[in-house]
Chain length 358, copies 2
């Protein structure tokens, strides 16, 4: 089985620590290690060094090679441009199918925390077996621990195996409103969509055929271009892919999707508010992630998160429920309750012509 | 008349922009100019270059000469140590009496905003006349504009002149509680104590005699030491002064004090919350004081104050009523309502062995 790590994040969720050229997966959020490094290690141990791939975009390719010392450069697939997950998945599938026809492929995001690694490996192997069937797309679902509105959900259909961990997918449900999320999370018929998939080229393109013929055509064109070594044609076919997500373009419309209920710990680290899972809070609920020698000073303050890699000591006095991010060139103060909305700040940066900070 | 500028602030109120070695009067808070420079200019135009003095402490003397390019070095009186205002006033009085016996002296803080300068000069001249009487200490009172609890008050006695601007002082009132402040501010019998005084050596020492014989003895010893050029004796006498304020040691107990009601605009810039008087707020009440080229970005935020001289762009998103101070080595976030309490943060720094930040 080949493993494909989708590493093309836009760098907005952890702004200003994350940037276009330094997305979340570059941040040292896994015990001081970059998330991409942890993901590569976790995956390579299963798929092997020669069969581990990274898909990224031109803004991040250089940084990727720098961080991943020793990673095979020709297994870093650089998209001609950042273009959402459907083109990303199609490009990787074409490249791997050209190299190793008929291979099974596991696809996953670069910036999630997953442990223990053994459970992850076992489930992916289970997915590999299911994906041998040329008609089946396999996905992995996370049992909800709260009524999240920031994730898509997978509605379970019939149970497939006797162990109770594999189901037919009845349908994909987009990010729900709060009331719907409550209903989903309290039912045992829904799982969070982890964004991890297993399939082979045949089953993926079969599903594309029914769901998105334009994507299918571009995928076949990329395979042809790769097989004939025509980089210009590959780039052209990539740019012909619809700019959309693989969930929307393929998964939601596919007729043969199976979901495996994950039994590993999973966190997508969606915002600074999630950093509580990787660092211990003090007795007042404050979390300090110092990437410098300057120890932050948090005094008479509650439920604040400091992420500091700038040149200064961060001092909080008498504040509550704030996120403070200190980097070399920008410093953000945002309430914990608003940190999911940081994209609005990014839009403000664009309007203010502050490309230097994107 | 000689002018004495008391410039020995402890640098705590505007921390982290202010420090022990860089107190408030060094900050560029008067249209980008250091307050001490504005004070010197304002005073020198009245007293003349040869009769303008600065009293400061060893931590700040070097910085003072650096900022005040061209100020006569021998008119900077360096206290052997920081020791509150009574020793400061006594030392300056001794030095000036030794140089120019019988001279009148105006004493004032270095870090207040006062304008227009003409009104200030006119009132000081009025004070000079009153202070010709060897028994009279002259002080200046500010008509309260709100029920301040952070200032001492002066209770007015009988009117002295026919213009209605000069009164006998009935008594000094220490910083009141809120209810008392309300009563003081709504009565026309109280003025804020500006900390500006005019007297001569004879009237000052006469008042010391009745109020604080220890201070009187030290003052005479300093005069003798100065007259005989004995620096060691001068230092010793200074250290023998009670470590207390001139208000407490002398003014509150003096029997012949006159107050002149000020008709100039006065602001002591007591904390970051006061910066609204020197910079215009945007339509959401945000005030940005950038001492760098990096324009702060304040988005979806209200009533915040940013003081930035650090290397980064400060970005506020979705916050209210915060003060954010960004310097080269420290970064403070504090609610507007707590910025008068920054001394508690200073204490925390001391307990945390962060002398580097004091």
């Amino acid at each position: 089985m080949h493993a494909i790590i989708m590493a093309g994040g836009s760098g907005t969720r952890f702004w200003p620590a994350s940037r276009k050229s330094r997305p979340k997966q570059f941040l040292p959020l896994d015990n001081g290690r970059p998330l991409i490094q942890s993901t590569v290690d976790r995956v390579m141990a299963l798929a092997g060094k020669d069969q581990t791939w990274i898909v990224t975009n031109p803004d991040q390719a250089d940084g990727m090679l720098e961080i991943l010392d020793g990673f095979p450069p020709d297994q870093i697939i650089v998209e001609p441009e950042a273009r959402d997950t459907a083109p990303c998945v199609a490009l990787a599938a074409a490249v791997i199918e050209a190299r190793d026809p008929g291979a099974t492929m596991a696809v996953m995001p670069a910036d999630h925390l997953i442990e223990p690694v053994e459970a992850f490996h076992a489930l992916l192997k289970q997915g590999e077996e299911l994906a041998q069937d040329n008609e089946t797309l396999v996905t992995f679902g996370i049992p909800p621990t709260y009524a999240a509105t920031g994730f898509g959900y997978i509605e379970l259909g019939n149970q497939h195996d006797t162990l109770g961990s594999t189901f037919q997918v009845l349908r994909f449900r987009e990010k729900p409103d709060q009331a719907t999320a409550q209903r989903f999370a309290s039912s045992n018929q829904f799982l969070w969509n982890s964004g991890i998939f297993v399939w082979n080229f045949a089953s993926l393109t079969r599903a594309m055929g029914g769901a998105n013929p334009k994507l299918l055509a571009a995928t076949h064109a990329m395979l042809d271009a790769k097989q004939s070594g025509n980089q210009a044609a590959l780039d052209q076919a990539f740019r012909a892919c619809p700019k959309t997500s693989v969930d929307y373009a393929v998964m939601e419309k596919a007729d043969r999707v199976m979901v495996i209920r994950a039994n590993f710990n999973w966190n997508d680290l969606g915002s600074f508010a999630a950093l509580g899972v990787i660092a211990e809070a003090d007795s007042h609920g404050n979390i300090v992630l110092n990437q410098t020698d300057h120890e932050a000073l948090v005094h008479q303050s509650e439920r604040c998160t400091v992420y500091s890699e700038g040149p200064q000591t961060v001092a909080l006095f008498g504040v509550q429920d704030l996120i403070v991010v200190n980097t070399g060139d920008a410093l953000l103060v945002v309430p914990r309750a608003r940190c999911e909305d940081i994209k609005e700040m990014i839009e403000h940066l664009k309007r203010s012509n502050r490309q230097d900070l994107l």
